[in-house]
């Protein structure tokens, strides 16, 4: 564990939040912002981050951007269209149910990113998680299959591939 580096990373995060919230960049804002973010960084260095070195990897950032692009412009659009279709269809072809979906990412952040991606796309919601078995329980608007691996392929595999590159 690399504490000074974590400190620095968390401080940068806090400083960005401070300046964005304040909405102005006068010398006063910068000085107080630095002081506050250094203190906050010290308090949360060991809580927020486990391996700060990852933050400095450009490859991870590139994948993060790719993940974001994929998520916003592909996954979201696709699932929105799908749900819209189901709502507007006169017969409402839905088949709600909860399926088990295994996952294969390691770190907490990766798991959270995947879980939140699933929840945020319409049609699927993560209702529970079993970290020791590496399982999500996902509520699905149209259960196409109850086979865990097949479900994983339809729901979360793409997210996992990116999340693995970004966070693991």
């Amino acid at each position: 564990m690399n504490k000074p580096l974590s400190w620095f990373v968390v401080s940068v995060l806090a400083f960005i939040a401070y300046i964005v919230f304040t909405g102005s960049i006068t010398p006063y804002d910068i000085v107080t912002g630095l002081a506050v973010s250094l203190v906050v960084g010290g308090l949360f260095a060991t809580i927020t981050i486990e391996d700060p070195v990852k933050v400095f990897s450009p490859v991870r950032w590139a994948y993060l951007i790719a993940y974001a692009l994929y998520y916003f412009f592909v996954a979201e659009v696709k699932s929105h269209l799908d749900v819209m279709y189901r709502i507007l269809h006169p017969k409402m072809p839905i088949r709600p149910g909860i399926v088990r979906v295994p996952y294969d990412v390691e770190t907490d952040y990766a798991v959270t990113a995947v879980a939140n991606s699933i929840t945020n796309t319409p049609g699927t919601v993560v209702v529970d998680i079993k970290p020791e078995k590496k399982l999500f329980y996902v509520h699905w608007i149209n259960v196409e299959t109850i086979d865990p691996y097949e479900a994983r392929k339809r729901i979360s595999l793409a997210f996992e591939q990116y999340a693995k590159k970004v966070f693991d």
């Binding site: 010398p27 927020t48 798991v111």
Partner: protein, 275 residues
Amino acid sequence: MRRWIGICVLILTILGLSFVVAANINTLVPTTNVRTLAEIYLKYTYYPWDKYFTAMSPEACTSIVWDFRGLDTVFETMVFYLAIIGAIALARGVPLKLPKEIKRDLGLSLIVKTVTKIVPVLIIAVAGSIALHGHLTPGGGFQGGATAAVAPVLILVVFSQFYLLKRGVNKNSMLLLRSIGLTGIGITAFAAVLIGLATGHYAFVLQNQPKPLAPDVSLPAFVGGQLISGSLWFFNFFEFLAVAAGFTIVFLLITLPEKLAEAKEEKHVVEVEEG
């Protein structure tokens, strides 16, 4: 019978208050003008052309709260302090200590925990901004402190109390922080008098900018060209510490696992004697 008395009281209250408002419709209902006193406050809250009659803060509420009517706020802080002391007194004998065994997997799910690792960082940064810009924009020490206290509350709910206790956020350390903040408020209240005693000039309690009767003592309105409005900045800062610590104590006390608290209390009851 009781209920009828209650309803009569209710109706009488409503009718009486309505009558008073109706009778004083000119003074109790807003008009396009404000009262003279309010105009004075609005005009002199930031008035660099008369250094003897201004609070040097563009935020009129903060300058009333901490400068024009600073005494109210010092004692408002004291009310809050005494309420927390009263709460601690009611929870005394209940140790806020780490038990030897902690059940594993306390708290909420992994996802919530991971998010809670980041969110408090942002909360405290925002809280700091609210507190330290109290003399420029709406907000101030109390509001900032209350916001900052959300962070420990989140951690408390998501990770369990023991997570905080393990990291040294316990009643004693928070009380110490609170006491430091309050001492800071006390020192700021007497700052002008202390400076006056040191330099041999007359000064007022809770003085901020120079006054006609105490023209030689003042707290700096600008530091390095940046407006800090003299004592207001210090008050806001110390109030921030005190309030954040105070709320943390309250939430630590009120979320104590009940079984743990009662087990300790039963032992205690025996020792209590007649008051």
